[in-house]
Amino acid sequence: MVPLCYCRFLDRLQLRELKDSLIIFCTDVFSAMLIRATGQNLRLAYLFSLESLDLVKQIEVSEILSSGDIAALIYLWNPFTIVACVGLSTSPVENMAVILCLYGACSRLIPLAAFGWVIATHLSLYPAILIIPVIFLLGCGPDAPPRKLFLQRHQQEEVLNQSKLPLGFSWRPIIHFAFWALLWSVYVLVLCGISLKQFGGIWEMFKSTYGFILTVEDLSPNIGVLWYFFAEVFDFFRNFFLIVFHVNIIFMILPLAIRLCHRPCFLAFVYIAIFSMLKSYPSVGDSALYLGLLGWFVNELADMQFSFFLFCGYFGVSLLSPVMHNLWIWRGTGNANFYFATAMVYACLQIILVVEGVSAMLNHDRKLRNLTTGKPRDAKS
């Protein structure tokens, strides 16, 4: 399930010598701790914004477990995480880089955020688009209801309490971030250049890592749908569909960024979910990451639709998919289509999760706005 390029690049053999099972286990635990810390950060921000909107009484926030704890527990107890860890996949390492980036951005450790972003991009390319949520996080702080809402609220009360108003967009941390990102990427590239000197240099590395990701060359079955698609598609359409599928990721960046700019962490979650669904070589480790991050938003997404259906779907697919794989590959009694069908269902489930998640979050904002203005009928855009 692990994309081959990482095996080639990180050199699975070397890792194995280093007792990698322990390393990957520790990586997972460390990721969970970072998720928890970030979740607590987010929770504080959420409570603060509720307080500043005087909505603490209307919105019930679960008191037993904070969202950070829930997210960390989901991440650690998710069967997908356990499978990825037991299978000695390298995806926990990539996940940790992504989480490191978000953690750094949330707690305003700009060098750490830049480091996480550079490493995550270096390892699997797709986290490059996380730069947008990171910029929003650094520019205007963690998730909060739209800024307009605060302004409306304070206009109503006719007391402009500056301390309760969230900060405006500030460019300073972003310039810092850009500087650090540049520094780290130069550092990483120089290190790669030195170590790959006799293997064709840095250009060869780009070709056989990013090139390998972008042109879906390896057609081994994974839980995504692209492998079968590119195994079956006619050769002269191949480039066209490669462009279409990658543009599918890029096209959604801007609309999501416009609608969810006040919730950068949720934006990051949606981006992660989208690229782990559409990436060339998806694995269960990627799903483990976004399912874990879903725990951050338990309060906001409390009235998400289809959540039971989704749970059942994920459960069913994760049971059926290995069975179909076994039938097709090992026993030879099944057909490729059996396995592809489960992959298809899985893709649909992920789509529903993303769409319903975004919809629930937007509805939550609407609810907050209605509660703030107090006149749901007249609330217009």
């Binding site: 053999l13 060359e217 390896d218 057609l219 081994s220 079955p221 749908v225 492998w227 079968y228 698609f229 590119f230 195994a231 079956e232 598609v233 006619f234 050769d235 279409v244 599928f245 599918n248 096209f251 959604m252 609309p255 999501l256 609608r259 669904m277 097709w328 590959i329 090992w330 026993r331 030879g332 057909n335 490729a336 289509n337 592809f340 298809m344 893709a347 649909c348 789509i351 993303v354 769409v355 975004v358 919809s359 937007l362 509805n363 609407r366 609330a379 217009k380 855009s381």
Partner: protein, 645 residues
């Protein structure tokens, strides 16, 4: 004809017949033409095929060998030590290797052109060897080792008469006269093994690269089952008697004269070492039982078999190396026979004989391990042949005795071999790789670019009973276009080549100078290492469903459209506005006509409100936004067209 020979152009035809232990007969046709390449005749030749000389000159081929084989050489019963199996037993399908005399960067281009030329010449799909995924460049383990060597095989190639006909065309007499008359298609292709080979050697005159001479050897090796002529006699001992045969009974034809263009035209009958030793033994026993005083008589003057024609000459192998005995060769000159008195050699056994052929030091076989279509392992097992123990033991006394084995193995890229998983077992005990493998060269495969090549030198102790190499692999997944038409049959992995550089397959008949004149016998005298090919492996690969590319494309695209559409819809939707719209709709629910009217009036008002500069023809539908959109799209289209034209 005598004038032609002045040009140093020569053609020799020879046929070697050899009874095999398992009641079969080996027939080995050997045709050799040589020519000196000079431009004096304008590139024309008297005997030598022009196509070949052009090919040699064009691609600067130093040495080349092409073989078409059907069936598998049975090393265990047909022997593996003689010159015949080690240079004529070939892997099934097509094997081609060539050494070029061109600079390093031009070799691949020369190879690709050569494959296409040969493909045209021999009506075979040799052009499939053009792709870089099918050929490799062995560094040192392939016997004619050289940096300019390219090696490729097509195990799946079916070999039949359409490959034989162009091959025969290269002979000056084709199959109309001489020994080649025997090549009757039905009887050849009925055989158990059939391998036609073409070997080219060009002797370059040095720096300017002009080729001075070419030697073309064409051999055809067939193993046939003679029809038992005495089937009626069925007493017990008869079953052990080897079947008697004649040229007419195995080929259905007889030689009625030489090819007039041939310098020499000979037929040989070879009795190999094992058979001779057995006959000698029987002969001695007979003498003992008869208590005959004349011990000086050798068995070949009073043989236990009968030949229909008297041999012109008898050669006895002079060989001190092998204690086993020496082989005996009967020579028949075809020149003595004519149309009226055709040459039809027949051999009739009188007493039952059982013997064994001489084996290569180790018998190599290769097989697959594991089940399922995800991964597996290739194992090469080397088993000591009991027969050869004798002379290996003789060497063992010297000092620390080692048996050197070269292994050359090419695997296609879709069999992704993990070279780190190589394991060595000697006498069924796992051994450290560094103890056994003296030298290894590995070039890993690149997906869709080049095959994986593994070359190894093994140093095994002489007293080894069995050795095995295992290496694990993952099976790749291909695009549907890359599968052959019968994908479920599986994919062939070319044979591995096992060679024993310390053992030389040669037979030296030092009777007199006449041996040197015979190309076949001088070929036997060459010291070439003993070589054997393993079986070609058939690896089943997972197949996708070939029948539904459309379904996969449409379903996948539908799912992606679902994602794109529904996510965009969620992002775009405004709940409050929707409510207002519904309210308005409910208020105006007076009828369709009134709704239309109100819309129309609104539009009319809109037009009146518009600035008068807008053209009147373009009614209300055109507003600034729409115009802008149309221009944008048109601009994009023009840009696209411009960019791609």
């Amino acid at each position: 004809m005598k004038k032609a020979k002045k040009q140093e152009e020569e053609f020799n035809e020879e046929l070697l017949l050899k009874p095999l232990p398992d009641r079969k007969v080996l027939a080995h046709f050997h045709f050799r033409s040589s020519a000196s390449l000079s431009t004096s005749n304008g590139g024309h030749h008297h005997l030598f095929p022009k196509a070949i000389s052009q090919l040699v000159q064009k691609f600067r081929v130093k040495e080349m060998e092409l073989s078409f084989t059907q069936g598998r050489w049975n090393y265990e019963s047909w022997g593996g030590f003689d010159p015949i199996p080690s240079s004529n037993a070939k892997p099934p399908g097509v094997e081609l290797w060539a050494v070029f005399d061109v600079p390093q960067h031009q070799i691949d281009a020369s190879w690709q052109n050569l494959t296409h030329t040969l493909s045209g010449l021999f009506c075979a799909s040799i052009n499939f060897l053009e792709s870089t995924t099918t050929y490799s460049a062995p560094e040192w383990s392939f016997p004619p080792a050289s940096g300019n060597l390219r090696y490729g095989t097509l195990p799946r190639e079916a070999v039949c008469t359409e490959n034989l006909t162009p091959w025969l065309k290269l002979l000056p007499c084709r199959d109309k006269a001489g020994i080649a008359v025997l090549l009757d298609r039905p009887s050849i292709y009925r055989g158990f093994y059939h391998s036609q080979r073409l070997h080219l050697t060009s002797t370059g005159s040095g720096s300017e690269g002009m080729v001075s001479g070419i030697i073309l050897e064409q051999t055809l090796t067939v193993v046939l089952q003679p029809n038992s002529q005495r089937a009626g006699m069925a007493y017990a001992s008869e079953r052990h008697i080897q079947p008697s045969w004649s040229l007419t009974s195995i080929f259905g034809k007889q030689v009625s004269g030489t090819c007039v263009l041939a310098k020499s035209s000979n037929v040989y009958l070879l009795l190999d070492r094992g058979l001779v030793a057995e006959l000698e033994h029987l002969h001695k026993e007979n003498e003992k039982s008869a208590e005959n005083g004349f011990t000086s008589q050798n068995f070949w003057t009073k043989p236990s078999f009968e030949l229909s024609a008297d041999p012109d000459r008898i050669f006895i192998e002079e060989n001190s190396l092998h204690s086993k005995g020496s082989s005996v060769l009967y020579k028949f000159q075809v020149e003595k026979y004519s149309e009226s008195e055709p040459f039809d050699l027949s051999l009739t056994w009188k007493i039952p004989v059982v013997w064994l052929s001489q084996q290569a030091p180790l018998h190599a076989s290769r097989f697959l391990m594991g089940s399922g279509n995800e991964r597996g392992a290739i194992a090469i097992s080397l088993k000591s042949t009991q027969l050869s123990e004798g002379f290996m033991g003789a060497n063992a006394d010297d000092e620390r005795c080692d048996l050197q084995v070269n292994v050359f193995q090419v695997v296609p890229w879709y069999v992704k071999v993990y070279f780190h998983s190589l394991q060595v077992f000697v006498n069924q005990q796992p051994k450290a790789i560094s103890d056994i493998i003296e030298k290894i060269h590995v070039s890993p495969s690149k997906d869709k670019v080049s095959p994986g090549v593994m070359e190894m030198v093994l140093k095994l102790p002489c007293k080894v009973n069995s050795a095995a190499l295992t290496i694990e692999f993952d099976k790749g997944f291909l695009h549907i276009d890359e599968y052959p038409p019968d994908a479920n049959q599986g994919f062939d992995i070319p044979s591995a080549i096992i060679s024993f550089p310390n053992f030389h397959a040669s037979m030296i008949f030092l009777k007199d100078d006449s041996v040197n004149k015979s190309p076949l016998l001088s070929k036997f005298q060459e010291k070439s290492p003993v070589m054997s090919y393993t079986e070609a492996l058939l690896v089943p690969l997972t197949t996708p469903d070939f029948s539904m590319p459309y379904n996969v494309i449409t379903i996948t695209c539908t799912v992606f459209a679902l994602y794109f559409g529904s996510l965009l819809n969620v992002l775009r939707r405004r709940v409050a506005e929707e409510e207002r719209f519904l309210k308005e709709k409910a208020a105006k629910k007076t009828g369709r006509l009134s709704l239309l009217l109100s819309k129309l009036s609104a539009k009319l008002r809109g037009r009146q409100w518009e600035p008068p500069s807008s053209p009147p023809a373009s009614s209300s539908f055109i507003n600034a936004k729409l115009v802008f959109k149309v221009i944008l799209v048109a601009g994009l289209a023009v840009g696209w067209q411009y960019f791609f034209s």
